[in-house]
Structure formats: structure tokens, C-alpha cells
Amino acid sequence: MTPPPDSPVAIVTGAASGLGASVAAALSTAGWRVAGFDLRPSDTTLSVEVDVTDAAALAAAAARVARELGTADALVTVAGIYEELPLESITDDRWDRMLAVNIGGTVNACAAVVPQMLERGSGAIVTISSDLGLGGSQGDAHYAATKGAIVGFSRSLAGELEGRGIFVNSVAPGAADTPMLAADSPWRAESFLSTLPAGRLVRPDEIAAAVLFFLELRGACVGQVISPNAGATI
């Protein structure tokens, strides 16, 4: 079903695969027109191939969305990378790359879209952080640091923008059954899953549901975090 041309517009970064694709699909099903920002084409109303670490390119992409679909009503920042490494194996290059994609990609997207939302005086932003950003975990130092940064950024931005009609919240998923989680990841091992109260990985559609929950509340939550994590971080 193609949403009608006057339906609300959401920009989703990382929309080509995994969690981003699930979020984009859930929004589309709920009646949104979705602009998907990704390095690769996405199955969205408007697919824009763009690198989230490139602030200027993201600004141009957001301007294109405004021209072709209208000002974004919502931004969901999903684009991110994950790798598990002990501290001594996190080289400068790996550290820089993790920060550039996860923090930079989130901040760049917000910087590109917030001016449009401010001009209109309304909007909603949901960032994707991680339960590792709340609780940390062995071997996840650089990833967890970026996700903790996203939580702090989101809560601070929420305070900065709430009086101007823009509401920012964050979804902090636990280990999810997406391509980001390697087939041999310890998070997929029964020895880990058996420790979870829910006893399983989180499904991408459950994370998308948390995103939709925040978007549908239209400002009843400001700077809050929901963590669908199967009980991994309680």
C-alpha cells in the first residue's frame, strides 16, 4: 500500500537493511511516507544514497526530501555499525570509524533535519542507541561508548528542543536478530540467551514498535529511553 501524498514524512537512516529496513517498513505500514538514507538503495518512498558520516551530503539529502516529499515530520536515526573487540584491539582507525558512524551519523542527521523542523515548529526524533550504552558489556568498549553518547546527546537535545515543538527520545535495543549480529556472535549463543528472562533475541519489528510508540505519543515523552532487550539489561 502506498501512503497518500499528504501523509506524514519520516526520514530513516540506515533504511536499506536490518533494523533500519524494519523501521522503514513499520512506518510505511502505519501510513508514513519514508525517505530512506543509506549507502545502498532502500525500499522506501524516496531512497537516497548517502553516507551519514558526511554532514554536507546529509544536509543536501534532507533538502531533497523537503523538496520532493515535504518537511520531515519525523527522523529516526538507525544507521550504525557494531563490532566486538577487546580494548587492546581497538585501533585508532577502528575507534574513529565507530565514533564517526554511530555518533557522527546520528548528530549529522539531526543537524540536517532539525532546522526544517524548527522552521515549521514541530517534529519528532527517535535515535537508536543500545542497551550496551546503558549497561556496557565485555568487549564492547568503543561501541558502548558511542551508544552512551547517543543517549546523552538525545536527552540533551530533547531539553533544548522541547519548547520549540520538537520531541526527542531514544530506543535502546538489546541484542537483536539483524544482520549486524554476526552468525557466530556470542549474543546468538544459547549460553547467553538462556540467561535472559525472555530467553531469546529481540526481533527487529519489536524495536520498530518502540519507535512507533514514541512517534505516536506526540510529545508525551521527552528525552526518554525505552529498551526492548529481552531482559538483558534490567
Binding site: D73, I226, A230
Partner: protein, 224 residues
């Protein structure tokens, strides 16, 4: 939001699932407006609802307060089981700790913590039998610690956060998912938001949210 309403106000989900196995909720909330909103939202999502206290629009069964075991038995008998428990918590009135009578202080805390605990304990066997079930506590969370002269309230709600998280671990393997919705003191949102949060946590899409504190309004702890 500048949307055109395509998502619906607070977008209620359909919780009916298998049409042959309609879900049943037991709702115990002191505030009339919250009870009415939550019951209406659950009923709108296809859930049969029993309430403790006076009946409200949308409720299928109203049961007297004071005997949790009898109420749980009545719901199971009349509606066939319990899949969802929504239970609120009272907050003792603020008072300066140094001026308080410690016995009264302790009594107020004990009562406020024990009321939801007793209902959760009484309902747990039914929720275990139902499987894929939910406990949703509605409280004030750690934000209660920010209330002036609020030692009693902060003690109550701190206890309930810990109770929620501990029960989530204890009951999760039995298929009972436990979470808390926190309404921040001083930023009480519309009751529709509370109702939407209950429906979300009770829905299949909310089943990966385990042992979490979903905070409405602004502020509160970083860690949910």
C-alpha cells in the same frame, strides 16, 4: 507532530491475537481518570477488562477492593483467566522527615508498597497459567526522590522499581513479562499517554521490553 492523523491518536494496537483466545486484563488504578483511560484503551484493543473498584466504561467486571485472592479467583472464573495485570501505587503525602512520627512514616510506606505487591503476588499464578502474560506497574519511579519532603514517597517508589526489575527476572522464564510505567511527578502527562503505554507493553510488539521503566513526561533516570 505535523502529521495528518494517519497513525491515529496514540494509535491503539489490536491485542486480540487469536480470536478464540481473547485476552483478559485486571486493572487496579486509584485515579479515576487513569483507570477510565486505561480500561477504555484495553477494551478498544479487544481486551476484556476487570477492574478493582467501581466499574467504568468498557469494563466487563467490577470487583470490590480488599480481597485480592477473591478478586483474582473471580476474574478467572468469570472471564476465563488473566493475561494482563495493571496495578497502580499510592504515594504517601509529603512531610518533613525530621518532624515525622517514624511509626506513621513506616506505616504509610508499608501500606503503599504492600498494596501493589499483594495484588502482584495474588495474580502471579494466574499469569503463569496464562503464559505470554504481562504485569504492568504504574508508579512514580526514582523521580519521586526529587519531591520536597518526599522521603516516604521516594522510599515507596524506589522499592517498586526494584520490585519490578527483580520480578522481571524471576517471572520472565515463566512467560510473565514485568515492566513499570513511570509518570514523572510534576509532569503528569495526559491519561491517553498512560493508556497508550499500557497497550504497547501489553501488545505482542512489546514483549521484548522486560524489566524496564518506561517513563512518560520529561526527566528521570538515564537507565530505564
Amino acid at each position: 507532530m505535523g502529521g495528518n492523523g494517519a497513525m491515529g491518536e496514540h494509535g491503539a494496537s489490536d491485542l486480540t491475537g487469536d480470536a478464540n483466545a481473547q485476552r483478559v486484563a485486571l486493572v487496579s488504578l486509584d485515579f479515576d481518570a487513569e483507570r477510565s483511560a486505561v480500561v477504555a484503551a484495553l477494551a478498544g484493543a479487544g481486551v476484556r477488562v476487570a477492574v478493582l473498584g467501581t466499574a467504568v466504561a468498557g469494563s466487563d467486571l467490577a470487583l470490590p477492593l480488599g480481597d485480592d485472592a477473591a478478586a483474582v479467583a473471580a476474574v478467572e472464573r468469570e472471564l476465563g483467566g488473566i493475561d494482563i495485570l495493571v496495578v497502580g501505587a499510592a504515594t504517601p503525602a509529603p512531610s518533613a522527615f525530621v518532624d515525622a512520627d517514624v511509626t506513621q512514616w513506616m506505616t504509610s510506606v508499608h501500606e503503599a508498597v504492600s498494596a501493589p505487591f499483594r495484588l502482584m503476588r495474588a495474580t502471579a499464578p494466574a499469569l503463569r497459567r496464562a503464559g505470554d502474560s504481562r504485569m504492568v506497574l504504574v508508579g512514580a519511579g526514582w523521580g519521586a526522590a526529587g519531591t520536597v519532603n518526599g522521603t516516604a514517597g521516594a522510599s515507596v517508589h524506589g522499592a517498586l522499581v526494584a520490585l519490578t526489575k527483580t520480578l522481571a527476572r524471576d517471572l520472565g522464564p515463566d512467560g510473565v513479562i514485568v515492566n513499570e510505567i513511570v509518570v514523572q511527578p510534576g509532569s503528569r502527562p495526559d491519561t491517553g499517554a498512560l493508556a497508550a503505554a499500557v497497550v504497547y507493553l501489553a501488545s505482542p510488539a512489546g514483549s521484548a521490553v522486560v524489566g524496564q521503566v518506561v517513563t512518560l513526561g520529561r526527566g528521570g533516570e538515564v537507565r530505564p
